[in-house]
Amino acid sequence: MFKQVHTLILKELTLEWRQKYALNGILLYVVSAVFITYLSVGAKQGNIAVTTWNALYWIIILFSAVNAVAKSFVQEHQGRQLYYYMIASPEAIIVSKIIYNSFLTLVLALLGYLVFSIILGNPVQDQGLFVLNLLLGALGFSACLTMVSGIASKASNNATLMAILSFPVIIPILLMAIRVSKNALDGLDWTVSVDKVLTLFAINIIVAVTAYILFPYLWRS
């Protein structure tokens, strides 16, 4: 099981590295999205309210994550999926995809944070909490989106379906992440945020475990 997961994650990394255009595309997506927001709100550096900064940041991360994860089951064609079906257990596949996608989402979130800090200013007062929150958010997003992209890949008109299926399911995670992130921006004491961080973690666990249990049924069809 662990060996399988390990091999599959290596496979995802190699595949991504070979088709660099997909990775570069999504990175450029984040940068352009941040820049469009910057121009649209017409904000000079540091001129933007903290709550707005927070909301814009998470919306951009949400959309980039949806775009990045959406391809996880589509990019490989049917024949190869059948091959994985024969050599690997579905549990190993979903675990490896979730881990890989969390890594990808985390990279996107960090890149977004960097670009945000450069052009919109960096009002974050508690870096540690903010990054921890990013890590948890990335985990939750990827668990939820990986599962939904598996579901959407079985149906036609993929892009719309991916969005409408994932948004309502992801909202609990997004809301908790935004609240913790607000606390980090205001530099509040960790004791204020600890129950929220735990709730976020618990929701992540619920989503991930549900995905883990349900994926074999999806994979078989």
């Binding site: 149906a155 299926l165 929220k196 709730t199 618990a202 619920i206 069809s221």
Partner: protein
């Protein structure tokens, strides 16, 4: 399911809910006043919706374990009935909110969460309609139904409790259950929950039976041709 005693019971309970809920004496509370009667309609419809969603999820699990289409029929029709009650619940809630909070929509966490919950189930219907093969539709629908339910529970039961809500019983507002859900209200409240749930079940079972008949007719037509 064809027995009729529980249908008579449903009609009786709902008639009782309507008459007693609208006419019986209710406790006078500041702000709430007569709108406390919404308890018998709005709150009970949400209870009915949750119960029916649980039935739907149980049927989805049964489908995944057995691959029998009859469980899928139950799952989709109970979800349909639950969506109907969800829409009614949100509309009655908005009417009530207009008279007590002053606005149809005041951004209350519970209001928002229930709207998101409805979005989830509308997405479920669209997902099902975008799949053409019956078995694939049933299987993928069941997977999404269970997955959405797992996200729905923290959404409506956990998150609103972390922030102040305008709802009675939250954020220092007078609650129904603390001191004023007195025996008079209870006398209508519990029968109303049972009544609404039963009429939802009735709706769902009628549609399940219709679906079964349609399937048999379809099978017959296909067999005639070949």
């Amino acid at each position: 399911m064809r027995t009729s005693w529980w249908k008579i019971l449903t009609i009786g309970l709902l008639l009782y809910t309507l008459i007693a809920g609208l006419l019986l004496d209710v406790p006078r509370l500041p702000i709430l006043n007569e709108t406390i009667r919404a308890l018998h309609f709005h709150v009970t419809m949400w209870f009915g919706m949750i119960i029916m969603l649980v039935v739907a999820v149980v049927n989805s699990i049964k489908y995944l374990r057995s691959n029998e289409l009859k469980h899928d029929d139950m799952a989709i029709e109970f979800t349909n009935a639950a969506i109907l009650f969800g829409v009614l619940g949100i509309v009655t809630g908005m009417l009530w909110a207009k008279f007590t909070w002053g606005d149809y929509w005041s951004g209350d966490p519970k209001q928002n969460a229930s709207a998101i919950g409805l979005l989830m189930y509308f997405a479920y219907l669209i997902l099902r309609n975008s799949l053409t093969d019956v078995h694939q539709r049933a299987r993928i629908g069941a997977v999404y139904n269970i997955f959405a339910f797992a996200a729905f529970i923290p959404l409506i039961f956990v998150l609103p409790r972390l922030t102040d809500s305008l709802h009675p019983g939250n954020g220092g507002n007078p609650g129904f259950n603390a001191y004023d859900l007195d025996s008079k209200l209870r006398m209508v409240f519990y029968p109303a929950i049972i009544g609404w749930t039963l009429i939802g079940t009735w709706l769902a079972t009628v549609r399940v039976r219709l679906k079964r008949v349609e399937r048999i007719v379809e099978d017959k037509m296909i067999n005639q041709v070949s």
